[in-house]
């Protein structure tokens, strides 16, 4: 099994102030997603929905790691904002991709990132 971070991106303006119907739909869709992953032999190790990027604060370091500046807003301003994530475990990329396709991300999409194994004494793959 391998671990992946599943990053959910989308246009957050539509979900800034969800209607009760939208909220119910989202809760139901994510509940079904979680059940589906478990039923297909995968595992959800964690996951959260994020507050909109309007609430984000970024801390930027200069190249030398000296000066740090605090700014209002996300690290990178994009049309499709990061809205939530899951940490999942899957057999391989094909299974992880199948889960990514089942993940609710209306009008947006999902980015899959393999988790780096930091348990060894040497860099992974070295």
């Amino acid at each position: 099994m391998a671990k992946y971070l599943l990053l959910i991106y989308g246009d957050e303006t539509g979900f800034a102030e969800p209607t009760p119907e939208q909220w119910d739909w989202m809760m139901k869709a994510h509940g079904e997603f979680a059940q589906g992953v478990a039923a297909q032999g995968g595992q959800i190790l964690g996951g959260e929905a994020l507050q909109p990027t309007a609430t984000a604060t970024s801390v930027r370091s200069d190249a030398a790691g000296g000066d740090q500046t605090v700014t209002d807003g996300p690290f990178v301003e994009t049309k499709e904002a990061l809205g939530g994530f899951y940490l999942i475990e899957a057999a391989d990329l094909d299974q992880a991709l199948a889960f990514a396709k089942q993940c609710p991300a209306p009008g947006g999409g999902v980015e899959l990132r393999p988790i780096m194994d930091t348990s060894g004494a040497t860099p992974p793959g070295a």
């Binding site: 391998a2 057999a91 391989d92 990329l93 094909d94 992880a96 991709l97 899959l112 393999p114 780096m116 060894g120 040497t122 992974p124 793959g125």
Partner: protein, 416 residues
């Protein structure tokens, strides 16, 4: 000595994919497997020179490479180092299992599907296929795609790293995913062929090495997947198109259009083989895009002359193809068929309908076809503009010469 080198070159071309694919399963890692196979070829030169070429060179190379891979795995284990292993390889191969030469599994399809995995960019799929399935060196691949060797090396390294880090599995996809995944494989092979068929830059129209590799790959896929109709369709398409290779330019390298080609010099053996494949690729129903393109190539191959071509059949096939595969390039070719069947004006109208498609913006054949139809309609000034547009979009010398000549004809009526 010469005989040994010849046998080695032959084995490299015919057996590389089989040997590497079988070794990956034991090595569990693409880089290690490649090194072991290269070592096996080096060892073969010495051993075969001393003891003669074995009866089955491929089996000899596979056994040697797999044994080396087992040694590496044992050494890594004793060093307690963990190599990132591919998913779907044997986790702990049992050396006592010693498969007989004939029992080595044919893993070439696993290798092909891994190289053409949709999580890899198309250019990475192409590079990996040439490197791992065809056994080309990085510098050969770099030359074929006109990029520097470090650029190509970085592209291949990145792709291999993604396969290991993201855990792209080393396996043939399950039945429900096969049509899509196979289409990606066939697209890569077709792209190799078309890149070689009309080299995007440079002096020669055709780059024979890429064309030959694409044909080898299509034949190999047909051998391991004899029942897949689209594989048959692709092989037929390549054979029927390639049958015309010798006649596509004149002795001076000038581009010859289909109507100018000497049909008596078309490769009849390839045409017979291609036609037989098309016949079975089209049936029983709902043929795929490669089978349909092959069927169109077959109509041209069967025609005794350009004028006697069954253009209505060509147009009918393009209509079906456009429904199966709504690509702007197909729509462009369909417009050409309309121009022949119904005349240049309806052809131009069909062309105008797709002229604004952004996917065709850098495609020189749109402007070239438009120029030709305008010329035939007597709209010489518009034709000249279109020839100039086409010229600005191609860097192939043979094509440029052809377009420049046509441009001269329409701008200087006395010369035409």
């Amino acid at each position: 000595m010469n005989k040994v080198r010849q046998a080695l070159a032959e084995a490299h071309r015919r057996e590389w994919a089989f040997v590497l694919a079988a070794t990956v399963r034991v090595a569990g890692n693409l880089d290690v497997a490649e090194e072991c196979v290269q070592d096996a070829f080096v060892a073969a030169l010495a051993t075969w020179t001393e003891r003669g070429v074995p009866g089955n060179p491929g089996a000899w190379l596979t056994t040697t490479a797999r044994n080396r891979a087992l040694d590496v795995r044992r050494r890594e284990q004793s060093l307690r180092r963990k190599l990132p292993l591919l998913v779907g390889t044997d986790p702990a191969p049992d050396p006592a299992d010693g498969e007989e030469a004939g029992m080595i599994p044919d893993d070439r399809l696993r290798l092909v599907f891994t190289c053409c995995h949709p999580a890899l960019a198309r250019e990475a799929q192409v590079a990996l296929t040439l490197r791992l399935v065809c056994g080309l060196t990085t510098s050969e691949i770099a030359r074929a795609f006109l990029v520097s060797e470090p650029t190509m090396a970085a592209r291949i390294t990145r792709a291999k790293h993604k396969i290991a880090a993201a855990r792209i599995p080393y396996r043939v996809p399950p039945a429900h995913e096969l049509p899509d995944r196979l289409d990606a494989v066939l697209t890569v092979v077709h792209l190799l062929y078309t890149t070689g068929h009309t080299a995007p830059q440079g002096q020669a129209l055709v780059r024979a090495d890429l064309v030959e590799r694409a044909l080898d790959l299509a034949r190999m896929l047909h051998t391991v997947m004899p029942d897949e109709r689209e594989v048959r369709g692709l092989l037929a398409l390549l054979l029927l198109t390639d049958a015309r290779r010798a006649t596509r330019t004149d002795a001076g390298g000038r581009l010859l259009l289909l109507e100018e080609q000497d049909r008596s010099r078309w490769d009849q053996q390839a045409i017979v083989q291609g036609r037989e494949l098309v016949r079975t690729a089209l049936r029983p129903s709902r043929p795929g895009r490669f089978a349909l393109q092959a069927a169109i190539a077959a109509v041209h191959a069967e025609a005794p002359s350009y004028a006697e071509t069954d253009w209505r059949e060509v147009l009918a096939l393009y209509n079906v193809l456009l429904a199966v595969w709504p690509s702007p390039v197909v729509a462009l070719n369909r417009a050409v068929a309309i121009a022949v069947v119904e005349g240049p004006a309806p052809g131009l109208a069909a062309l105008d309908a797709i002229a604004d498609d952004p996917r065709l913006a850098a495609y020189p054949y749109l402007a070239a076809t438009r120029a030709d139809l305008l010329r035939r309609l007597g709209r010489t000034q518009d034709a000249a503009h279109a020839y100039q547009a086409a010229l600005s979009l191609t860097a192939n010398t043979a094509e440029r010469d052809f377009l420049a000549q046509r441009l001269a004809e329409v701008t200087d009526p006395s010369g035409s």
